[in-house]
C-alpha cells in the first residue's frame, strides 16, 4: 500500500514537472531579431547544454542564431535557425531551465551563466542593484548605438517637437542624409553640432528631455523611412533669417518646415 502510494505520488510529481516543462515556451515560433521571455529561456537552455556561450540577455542576435543552428544540426533537425515546435520539444527534453534563478539575476542586473553540471550559486556575481528591465540588451539598427539614437532624438525634439509625427521623422532623415552627403561631416555628432546648422543646438533646446515620439521618429528614419525625399536642408519660412536658404530647390513642405536640396 505504502509503495503504491509512493509510486503514485512520484508519478504525479513527474507528471507535474513534465507538464511544467512543456508549458515552458509560449506557442510562438522564435526567429532572429525577437526579444523577450522566450528568448531568455532559449538562451538559458542552449547554454545549459553548452551550445550558447554568450550572455543571456533576452535578444535573439547572431550568436543565439548560430547556437540554434548548431543545436538543430547536432540533433538531426532541419537547420533553419527558426525555433519552432520540434526544436522546442527537443530542447526541453535535453536541457533544464531554472526560470527563477535566471529571472532573478536579470532583475538584479548580475553577471551570470546557466551551464548544466555546475552549481548555480557559483555562476552568478552579485551586484545587488535592482532594475525593472526584462532584458539586458536591445536591438539597435546597424551602425548606430543607443546613444546615437538618443542624441538624434534630442536634436529632433529640440527642433521639431511641435511638428506632426511625419515632420519629426523628416527632420531625423535630414540629419541622416547629411551624414551620407559629401558636403557635411561624417558623424552624427559632427552633423548635429556643426556650428549654425540647427537652431535648437545654438539656443540649447537640444538638451530638453525628448519624448518617446521623437525617439520613435529617429528609429523610423534610421530604419530607412525618409519622408523628406532626400532633403539636406529645411527651414521655417516664418522665422528664416538667411536669404540664401530660399534659393535652394524645394522638395516639399511638412507642417511648418520646407524641405529642400
Amino acid at each position: 500500500m505504502l509503495r503504491k502510494t509512493i509510486i503514485c505520488i512520484m508519478f504525479l510529481l513527474i507528471c507535474y514537472i513534465r507538464a511544467g516543462e512543456a508549458e515552458a515556451f509560449s506557442n510562438q515560433v522564435i526567429q532572429k531579431g525577437a526579444v523577450g521571455d522566450d528568448v531568455i529561456e532559449l538562451q538559458a537552455r542552449l547554454q545549459y547544454i553548452g551550445f550558447y556561450n554568450g550572455k543571456i540577455d533576452g535578444v535573439f542576435g547572431w550568436s543565439t542564431y548560430w547556437a540554434v543552428r548548431n543545436f538543430q544540426y547536432e540533433f538531426g533537425l532541419p537547420i533553419d535557425g527558426l525555433v519552432g515546435e520540434s526544436t522546442k520539444v527537443k530542447l526541453v527534453k535535453v536541457s533544464k531551465y531554472n526560470e527563477q534563478f535566471v529571472k532573478e539575476q536579470i532583475r538584479k542586473g548580475n553577471k551570470f551563466t546557466h551551464y548544466g553540471g555546475k552549481p548555480l550559486s557559483q555562476q552568478a556575481k552579485n551586484k545587488a542593484k535592482n532594475t525593472t528591465r526584462k532584458t539586458t540588451a536591445d536591438n539597435v539598427p546597424k551602425g548606430f548605438s543607443r546613444n546615437d539614437i538618443q542624441l538624434m532624438a534630442n536634436a529632433v525634439y529640440g527642433e521639431a517637437r511641435g511638428e506632426p509625427y511625419i515632420g519629426q521623422v523628416a527632420v531625423a532623415a535630414v540629419i541622416l542624409n547629411r551624414l551620407n552627403h559629401s558636403s557635411f561631416p561624417n558623424t552624427v555628432a559632427g552633423v548635429i553640432f556643426q556650428p549654425g546648422a540647427f537652431t535648437a543646438v545654438a539656443d540649447g533646446q537640444i538638451w530638453l528631455t525628448p519624448n518617446e515620439t521623437a525617439r520613435k521618429a529617429v528609429l523610423d528614419a534610421i530604419n530607412g523611412w525618409d519622408p523628406s525625399e532626400g532633403a539636406i536642408y529645411y527651414f521655417n519660412p516664418d522665422t528664416a533669417t538667411s536669404g540664401w536658404i530660399w534659393s535652394r530647390p524645394q522638395i516639399k513642405r511638412i507642417g511648418k518646415h520646407i524641405f529642400c536640396k
Binding site: 515560433v29 536591445d138 538667411s242 530647390p249
Partner: protein, 448 residues
C-alpha cells in the same frame, strides 16, 4: 538711525549687485572667448591642412615609383579628411560653402581609390594624372586665398563670433573679410566642380537617385487617392488630403495624409507621380501590447507583398523594437539574392497590421534582366576568404559594390571568435568586394 541703517543696507545691496554683475560679465566673456578659440583653432588648422594638401599633391605629381605613390596618395586622403572635419567645425553652415566641402570630399575619395588600387597592375591613367594636376592647381588657389584671409584675421584681430552673429542675424558685418574670403574660395572651387574625375568617379553622388522602376503615365490626384485606397485597404470613411512635390524633387511624387476619424490617427504616404508606385507609408497609430510573434509578423508581411504583386521576395532581416517588428525583404531570383531590390516593412505586433512600408531602394534599383553565370565555383570562392573564419552559410547574391556597380558575388556568413561576418567574393574575378562585421545586440549600459 533708521535712515542711516537703510542707506547702509541699500549701498550694500548696490555693491553686491555690482560685484555680481561684474562676475557674470567675466564669466560670459570667458565662455565667449572659449568658443572663439575653438573657431580660431579650426580655422588655422584648416589653412594648415590645405597648405599640406597642396604640398602632398605636388609630391605625388613628381613621383614615378609606384611603391611611394600609394602611401603618398593615402597621405593626401588623410589630410583631406582632416581638412573636411575642420571645415565642419566652422560656423559656415549659413554661408553657401558646400562646394568647398564637396571638393575636399572628392579629393579624399579620388586619392583613396587610387591609393588602394594595385598601381603595379593598373597604373594611373592619363586622365587621372590630369585630374591630379588640376587638383594641385586648385589646391594652390584655395591655399593662397585662405592664407590671405588668415593674414587679415591676424592683422585686424577679426573674431569668428562676430561673423557667426552677423550670419545668424543676416546683417552686414562691419568687416566682411572672413565672409568675402570664404566666398572667393567657394567661387574658386565652383569652377572646379565640372572637372572630370574619370570613368570610375561617375557615381559619387548617390544621393539623387532616380526611380528606375517608376515607369508609366503620370497619374492625377484622384487616381493617386484610388491607389492609396487599394494599397492601404481603406474603408472609405477616411479623409485624404494630397499635395504634389515641389520643384526641387528629382522624382515627382504626391504626398498623402489619410485621417481615420474612427481611430483619430493619421497615415502618411508618398507615391510616385509616374505610374503611382507607393514610395513609403507610415501609420502613426499607438500600438498596444505584443500579441503576435515576429515570425507571424513576417508571414503577414509576405502575404501583404504577395497581395500587391511583389513577387519572389524573401525575408532577409527581422528585428523587434518594443512592440513593432521591422522586416527587410529582398528579391530572390532562382536562389540568387538581389540585395539592391529591398523592401522594408513595419508590422505592429498587437494585431499584425502593416504600419510601415518603404520601397525606396526597390524603386531606385536597376532592373536586372538576367543573372549572369559565375566564372568561379563556390569552393574556389571559399578559398579566397580568411581561413580562420568558420563558414556557416553560403549563397549567391548580387550587391552594389564601392564603385556603384551591380556585381554577382558569393556571400559567406561565418564566425570568427564571438563575432559574425558577412563576406562577399566576386563570382567572376574573386575580388573580396565587401567584408562586414555584423552587429550583434547592444547591452544596456548603466543598468548592468
Amino acid at each position: 538711525m533708521v535712515r542711516a541703517f537703510l542707506i547702509g543696507l541699500l549701498s550694500l545691496g548696490i555693491i553686491g549687485t555690482a560685484y555680481w554683475g561684474y562676475r557674470e560679465h567675466q564669466e560670459k566673456n570667458a565662455v565667449l572667448q572659449h568658443a572663439e578659440n575653438n573657431y580660431q583653432r579650426a580655422f588655422h588648422d584648416l589653412t594648415y591642412q590645405v597648405d599640406l594638401l597642396h604640398d602632398k599633391i605636388g609630391t605625388t605629381l613628381a613621383m614615378n615609383s609606384r611603391n611611394s605613390l600609394s602611401p603618398a596618395l593615402a597621405e593626401v586622403w588623410r589630410i583631406a579628411a582632416e581638412a573636411h572635419s575642420s571645415v565642419g567645425q566652422l560656423p559656415l553652415s549659413l554661408l553657401p560653402f558646400n562646394k568647398t566641402e564637396e571638393f575636399l570630399a572628392k579629393i579624399g575619395k579620388f586619392s583613396y581609390r587610387t591609393a588602394i588600387r594595385d598601381l603595379e597592375k593598373e597604373p594611373l591613367t592619363k586622365e587621372e594624372y590630369k585630374t591630379l594636376q588640376k587638383l594641385y592647381k586648385n589646391a594652390a588657389d584655395i591655399q593662397s586665398e585662405l592664407r590671405n584671409v588668415q593674414y587679415l584675421v591676424l592683422k585686424n584681430n577679426l573674431r569668428w563670433m562676430d561673423v557667426e552673429l552677423a550670419l545668424a542675424s543676416d546683417q552686414k558685418p562691419t568687416d566682411n573679410t572672413i565672409i568675402d574670403g570664404f566666398k572667393t574660395v567657394e567661387k574658386n572651387v565652383e569652377s572646379f566642380s565640372e572637372t572630370d574625375f574619370g570613368p570610375t568617379f561617375t557615381n559619387l553622388e548617390n544621393e539623387d537617385r532616380e526611380f528606375a522602376r517608376a515607369k508609366g503615365k503620370p497619374i492625377s490626384k484622384e487616381e493617386a487617392k484610388d491607389v492609396a485606397k487599394t494599397f492601404l485597404g481603406l474603408k472609405g470613411k477616411e479623409k485624404i488630403s494630397i499635395v504634389e512635390s515641389g520643384k526641387g524633387a528629382i522624382n515627382r511624387f504626391y504626398s498623402l495624409t489619410i485621417y481615420d476619424p474612427k481611430t483619430k490617427t493619421e497615415t502618411y504616404m508618398d507615391m510616385t507621380k509616374n505610374g503611382g508606385y507607393p514610395i513609403w507609408v507610415i501609420d502613426n497609430r499607438p500600438i498596444q501590447t505584443q500579441k503576435i510573434s515576429l515570425n507571424e509578423a513576417t508571414i503577414k508581411g509576405l502575404e501583404f507583398l504577395k497581395r500587391h504583386k511583389f513577387t519572389n521576395l524573401e525575408l532577409y532581416e527581422s528585428t523587434q523594437y518594443d512592440n513593432v517588428g521591422v522586416l527587410t525583404f529582398v528579391t530572390n531570383k532562382n536562389g540568387v539574392r538581389i540585395y539592391p531590390e529591398a523592401i522594408k516593412m513595419k508590422v505592429a505586433l498587437d494585431d499584425g497590421t502593416i504600419v510601415g512600408f518603404s520601397a525606396r531602394d526597390y524603386l531606385s534599383s536597376n532592373i536586372i534582366d538576367a543573372v549572369p553565370k559565375p566564372k568561379l565555383t563556390v569552393s574556389e570562392a571559399r578559398a579566397k576568404i580568411n581561413p580562420n573564419l568558420k563558414v556557416m552559410e553560403e549563397r549567391q547574391a548580387i550587391i552594389v559594390n564601392d564603385l556603384n556597380d551591380e556585381v554577382l558575388c558569393y556571400e559567406f556568413l561565418g564566425t570568427l571568435g564571438d563575432d559574425t561576418y558577412r563576406i562577399f567574393i566576386n563570382a567572376q574575378n574573386g575580388i573580396e568586394e565587401k567584408v562586414e562585421k555584423l552587429q550583434d545586440t547592444e547591452p544596456v549600459y548603466g543598468n548592468v
